[in-house]
Symmetry: C2
Subunit: 376 residues, 2 copies
């Protein structure tokens, strides 16, 4: 993984739907225009058969690899994507867009609704994981790509890739849902609802019309992020990173931050405010809660005869979406005759493992993408 | 456990320290007066040798058993305390007080400071688990009790009982810390700090001077409680209680509560506001964070020659304070020559197991208290 990596890259933007040709959601509601931010890395082959699609997680963005001018600040999956890396940009043409409902270049609830001239706010329609794919399929069409070699992503990104493979049997050869779920547990939803309540009850949320006021639900959003961040790590990673160390040993006990882990979480909360929007957070977490592709009516028939190869990857210390979530995905697909496997990888870093240097994981992604074959 | 139980009981109150004879905290700060709310069940023997002391958890109170007039509304440990129950009030004289810093009859940060005529608020001094015991030892002295048969409690209550046994080798024959910890992990502290930030950042917290304004940090306190409540249950108990059931099947997706687990958490958050005070929540959680009796200087010597028998009990699905916390307590005590054992009890109900009907747990408490002997 010590290859030089991608150099400077930039985020492009394309209008995928317009007011006249709007996005029609699964619910029947429409949105138009829909603009999509995306990055690409590597070259599309003449046969147009080497495209790899990256689906980001809840708070990710299009900037997955390389840098935007400051070589110290790299994309969120720069460890995995680049020349000689597991998603090898010398072999693959990699497409990494921001998703519908996001706040980093793709249309979302804080975008302006042309019908009113104001931001959508809570008027933005609820959307599903399926709707994320409607947008990204249009993006692919604009890029002239008919079939993907692979789609992969972590957490919500893995859910998106899985839904895509289910809905479009010929869309991709390989699908890699990484620490994903096909059915959030009650406890998953519980954390999700507390995060949303922290935001929506913040007086500065103002029913979603906060942008114009100059005050946003910063307290609620920071609290939501701090809590969620805990669930992305593990007991072991917290112990390893922080233990019970205090920033200044020997200070008098007090209610404010004192232990290193407290300073770290405060920093995470504060940082998040500058890069993420509360409305996107509400909508995208809710999209995850409702995701349940195997509970849909008629799914058994629908799953028949799908040639997509699926590798579900989980991490041993991920307690948000542990291996049982991948097992559920694998079992349902295998029962319908799919070529589906799962690998649970030993890693101490919790849910965030999918973003980190876990050599066995990197090797697995590299070999699966390179060979097009699932591990035995 | 089908015995009739205690009938109507009532909470008493006693002034344990006065302005002239104040409580001197470990830090050197003083508080006076200190009033203590408590209940007692059963009869003190003539030999005064059958006293069992109950230490409650973070949000508990003095009302552990019986009822206050409505026989449907029972004390928080009514399953364990009563005639024929594990803490058998036909054998034992049971004392159950509210703790220092609390908000249910014992002096805490929302009590009036006689020096100013106003509530303490954040002027209330930080206090330690040791200080909780200074108050309760004075209560015992007022009740004319010199030695306890046993002290027991869950979570913070277990921490209190353990500190008591360490500091006063002859104070009790038996000490039962139940799902307790002698050193919160970084992840434990992380949840704790997010809860406090939710409260302290709430604009209605007003620097702790909220009582007079008629508005309190209700949003922050409810969010803190909802989050904490998740950590008291387990994946399994959430799945069993709620699964993915929705309150009204077939409703349109939305951001507000829809799944049963969401309604449940909302109810937990709202309910908590009527029975608990934000300042007490801040102080008591912080007292837990700093608790680390085995990290104190000179502790090895101090632990020598202590005849107290200690039984640390944990529950298999408690991920807040799992068995490793009890193992740490047992190992440290055994290394100092104590008669200390631990039992990890199979239970699906998470941290809250200590409050619930877990037959093996009830039997263990019953036999240990009855025989005065630890399990082999």
């Amino acid at each position: 993984m010590e290859a030089g990596g991608l150099g400077e890259v930039k985020t492009e933007s394309v209008v995928c739907f317009t007011e006249e040709d709007p996005l029609v959601l699964e619910s029947g509601a429409t949105i138009g225009p829909v603009e999509v931010a995306y990055e690409t890395y590597g070259e599309l082959s003449e046969e147009r058969d080497n495209a790899v699609f990256i689906c980001h997680a809840l708070t990710g963005d299009a900037h997955a690899a390389g840098h935007h001018g400051d070589s110290e600040r790299r994309g969120w999956w720069d460890r995995l994507i680049g020349p000689g890396k597991p998603v090898d940009t010398e072999k693959f043409f990699v497409i990494s867009p921001n998703l519908l409902g996001g706040c980093q270049g793709t249309t979302g609830p804080s975008s302006v609704n042309p019908a009113t001239g104001e931001r959508y706010g809570l008027e933005f329609p609820m959307f599903s994981v399926r709707d994320l794919n409607s947008v990204h399929r249009r993006l692919l069409a604009k890029l002239g790509i008919e079939q993907l070699h692979a789609a992969l992503g972590g957490s919500l990104g893995g859910m998106q890739a899985l839904q895509w493979a289910i809905d479009y049997p010929l869309a991709m050869e390989l699908c890699l849902p990484i620490c994903a779920s096909a059915r959030l547990s009650a406890m998953n939803i519980a954390f999700s609802t507390v995060a949303r309540e922290a935001i929506m009850r913040d007086p500065d949320f103002q029913g979603g019309r906060y942008h114009e006021s100059g005050r946003g639900p910063n307290i609620g959003l920071a609290v939501a992020r701090m809590m969620a961040h805990i669930t992305y790590l593990s007991e072991e990673s917290f112990a390893h990173k922080f233990g019970r160390a205090r920033r200044i040993e020997g200070t008098e006990p007090g209610l404010g931050p004192d232990f290193e882990v407290e300073h770290y979480l405060h920093h995470q909360g504060a940082n998040f405010l500058s890069r993420f929007d509360a409305l996107s957070y509400l909508y995208l977490t809710r999209t995850m809660d409702y995701f349940a592709p195997f509970d849909e009516e008629g799914v058994e028939e629908k799953l028949q005869g799908n040639p997509t190869k699926v590798l579900a990857i989980s991490f041993s210390s991920d307690w948000r979406f542990d291996a049982s979530h991948s097992t559920f995905i694998r079992e349902r697909l295998q029962a319908a005759g799919w070529d589906a496997e799962q690998v649970d990888i030993e890693s101490p870093w919790g849910h965030d493992s999918f973003l980190l240097d876990v050599p066995e994981y990197h090797k697995l992604v590299a070999s699966t993408l390179a060979t097009g074959l699932l591990p035995a």
